[in-house]
Amino acid sequence: MKKLWSTMLTTLMLVAMMVPVAFAADAEAATKIDSGDTAWVLVSAAMVFIMTPGLGFFYGGMVRSKNVLSTIMQSFFIVALISVEWVLFGYSLTFSGDVSGIIGNLDKAGLAGIGVTTILDNGTIPEFAFVAFQCMFAVITPALITGAFAERIKFSAFVVFSSLWAIFIYNPMAHWVWGGGWLAKLGALDFAGGLVIHILSGVSGLVFCLMVGKRRGYGKSPIIPHNIPMIVIGATLLWFGWFGFNAGSALGANGLAASAFIVSQIAAAGATVSWVVAEWIYNGKPTLFGAASGCIAGLVAITPAAGYVTPMPALIIGLVGGVVCYFSVAVVKAKLGYDDSLDAFGVHGVGGTWGAIATGLWATTSVNEAGADGLFYGNPDLVVTQLISVVTAWVFAIVGTFILVKLIGLFMQIRVDEADEVAGVDISGHGESAYGQSIVAGHPVIGGQDVNL
């Protein structure tokens, strides 16, 4: 790469001696891989990768110990499942060409036509780096949904649902916003995925949990987290990875990336503080679980705005995001009585909606020329566009998930049997116990019969 660069440079210099070259040089430069940008996007991809297992721990700590493996499994397995889907169809459907603004084509199915030297269109990084980075986004989105139906779903139904949801809900929506589809043309702003990721997953989770019903005992016996440190490990990995998520979405190591980085930190910090303060006032005690929830709420809220807003608005977005999500999980959910087990909707659906609207309020072209000015910078139109895109995401998630769940229900059982739910999905669905106790005797079964080796 370096050789290419210097050969080019030399040629360039020779040319420079003879003709006015300002534009030529510009064009040339645009077709080169920049090693710094590439390093940043590759690291970001790895950081976003770790978010999904991290989400597994975040969710896994919240469930009862009899369901922790099934919960982590949903996030962990989805990394594999959707990565395969993504390289086979997903990437192509999302980012290759455009069919009537609705969906991409299949030209890049199986990553056909992309090679080591292929550079991302209008980018400075290898297209493979972009494929990998976006793969991690495609992976985490359906994983977020799993919080809504945790502790009561059959693994087989989950696998089918997640695959179909990725293909029929995620890929189109991502195409509309990021792949040059109709929402992109409309001017909707969604820097790192408020619409595509958080609203879509949160609202889908709400629909799914309403359709599948409450966990047995919900509201009667206490269903409390079995391991709060595990929740915090998850939140830590999520927060860490989110820097790649938001700042990596600049697709280069530049001022915009740095700006997205700092505003993400500010919003996460603001929401952590505001969630904790809210519960301190409302429930009388500040909690670690609240702090861990707050940072996620803040990061969700800043996600769509990360590349468009300045630090102080980010602080407001975070502060408001923390309080709004707190009330939606602590008060609204209890009032309405649905069982969104781990608050996929309360945090991602609500936080994402707030973030998408806030983008319409505080976006400014001083941060990002490719963006737009929001309401507080004199442009009320952006709010309207953002509202349209929010409604679109809600409606698409509701309708799509409803159809998918109904459809799958025709062919297979979605919810586990009562006895299995009582015993716990870890044992009944996976044949494993999270915390093997020395006291739990038993004996190895070999070849189907008991033996003494």
Partner: protein
């Protein structure tokens, strides 16, 4: 001193809260609970780790111990059965023992008054 009796109730963990409330309702407020594993008619389950299968035959149960004197033993047995009976294997057992003496550490009271709580 009235006769003191200890009742051990071994049953499904998920029933603990209900049992506790039912016993409270008939005046049994003091009890000591522990986590145990049981085996009996109830089948255990198979676990698999890297393709190796294990027959796990101890099932998680909860043990509730309560020492009573005023409340008749039969009443406790009746209430416990009512709450805990599902008719499925594994509902558990109740065992009744004689207690020779009891002491409330806080006050030094001995015998029946040691376990009679005045509200």
């Amino acid at each position: 001193m009235k006769k003191l009796t200890k009742i051990d109730i071994i049953t499904r963990p998920g029933k603990l809260e209900e049992l506790k409330e039912a016993l409270n309702a008939i005046g049994v407020a003091g009890m000591t609970v522990s986590q145990v594993y049981g085996c009996g008619l109830q089948k255990g389950h198979k676990e698999v780790y890297r393709g190796q299968e294990y027959a796990i035959n101890l099932v998680p149960k909860v043990k509730v111990e309560t020492v009573i004197c005023e409340i008749p033993v039969e009443k406790v047995l009746e209430v416990a059965q009512k709450v805990l009976k599902t008719g499925q294997i594994g509902d558990g057992k109740i065992f009744v023992y004689n207690v020779e003496n009891a002491v409330r550490i806080r006050t030094g009271e001995e015998g029946d008054i040691a376990i009679i709580d005045q509200k």
